[in-house]
Amino acid sequence: MAQEQVRIMVVEDHSSFRQALAHMLDLEPGFRVVATAGDLAEALKVPTDNVDVAIVDMALPDGEGTELIRALHKSGDRVTALVLSGSLSRRQYARAVEAGAAGVMHKSSSIEEIVDAVKRLNAGESLLSLEEIVDLFRDVGRQREQDHDAKQAAASLSQREKEVLWALAEGLDSKQIARRLNITVDTERSHFIRIFAKLGVHSRLQALIFAVRHGIVEIR
């Protein structure tokens, strides 16, 4: 009896890598590459009722790989998603798993590791232990809480306090900020004391990093 082949879809925007990977996977005994796509839009058009494993790049030019994974799950087709990511960010891994990826691998993996992962996933194995999945979700939850708190902190800043941060982002010192905003240096310092308290930071540098990270100011 002929062995059933694992039907694979490769979604990756770097064409030469996508095509090389598809070519090599197709040569693997028991594998058959049934579709490839270079972006999210193309991948969403692929009929997935004949796909067993989708190898998905996280960073696509028109969206994230997680969007495709969610769509695969919604479709009801039993497609197992393996994410290949160029990032080592735990947060990205968590998001991929949360979206429904059965496995996440970094692009520093070898072709043998990728092939092995596809075989294991197709056999119903998980690449992550339950403990690892719980840890990842815990991290995502924690990160969401921190993001929510940061958003609230940013929203609590007054317009004047934002102007002070903008001036800081331009590299101005205390005297220059005070002159720019037509206030005294003492008042400028008071503004910063309130800013530190609201943002939960302890220095101008930390305040600036917070402000840049959360989009309150830009560094030009």
């Binding site: 925007d13 770097h14 064409s15 030469s16 890598f17 095509q19 090389a20 990977l21 070519h23 090599m24 040569l27 960073a59 030019p61 290949l84 160029g86 970094h106 692009k107 520093s108 993996s109 070898s110 072709i111 990728i114």
Partner: protein
């Protein structure tokens, strides 16, 4: 006439390994080598490649290899091809396109007999 030597030293690892496997399978006429980017300078001495595919062409590659391809630097969909100082830029490149560049460069280097001399 020796085979054209191609060194893949691009990041990430899966890219260089997968592409090297594909090159070997699709072009048996090439000698394909794979190296970590940190080892490139040492490998240049050992194998004298005719073509180097890398993510960032270090000075040794730029000065000692007559044909190099900067493939997806920093993960960008960009390919820069440099053959004896003549530079072309592409928004991404398909596998067959990459292979044809390697083929053309190999032919050129073989015909002009100006490729790096093999070391013994």
């Amino acid at each position: 006439m020796r085979k054209t030597r191609v060194l893949l030293a691009n990041e990430p690892r899966s890219y260089r390994e997968v592409m090297a496997s594909a090159f070997r399978e699709m072009r048996p006429n090439l000698e394909v080598f794979v190296a970590d980017p940190d080892e490139v300078e040492r490998i240049l001495d050992l194998i004298s490649p005719d073509v180097v595919i890398c993510s960032e062409p270090i000075p040794a590659v730029q000065h000692r290899v007559r044909a190099w391809i900067e493939l997806y630097p920093a993960g960008e969909s960009l390919v820069v091809v440099n053959v004896e100082g003549e530079r072309s830029t592409f928004d991404d490149l398909e596998l067959l396109g990459l292979l044809s560049i390697v083929d053309d460069m190999g032919e050129k280097l073989q015909h002009t007999n100006q490729g790096c001399a093999p070391t013994n």
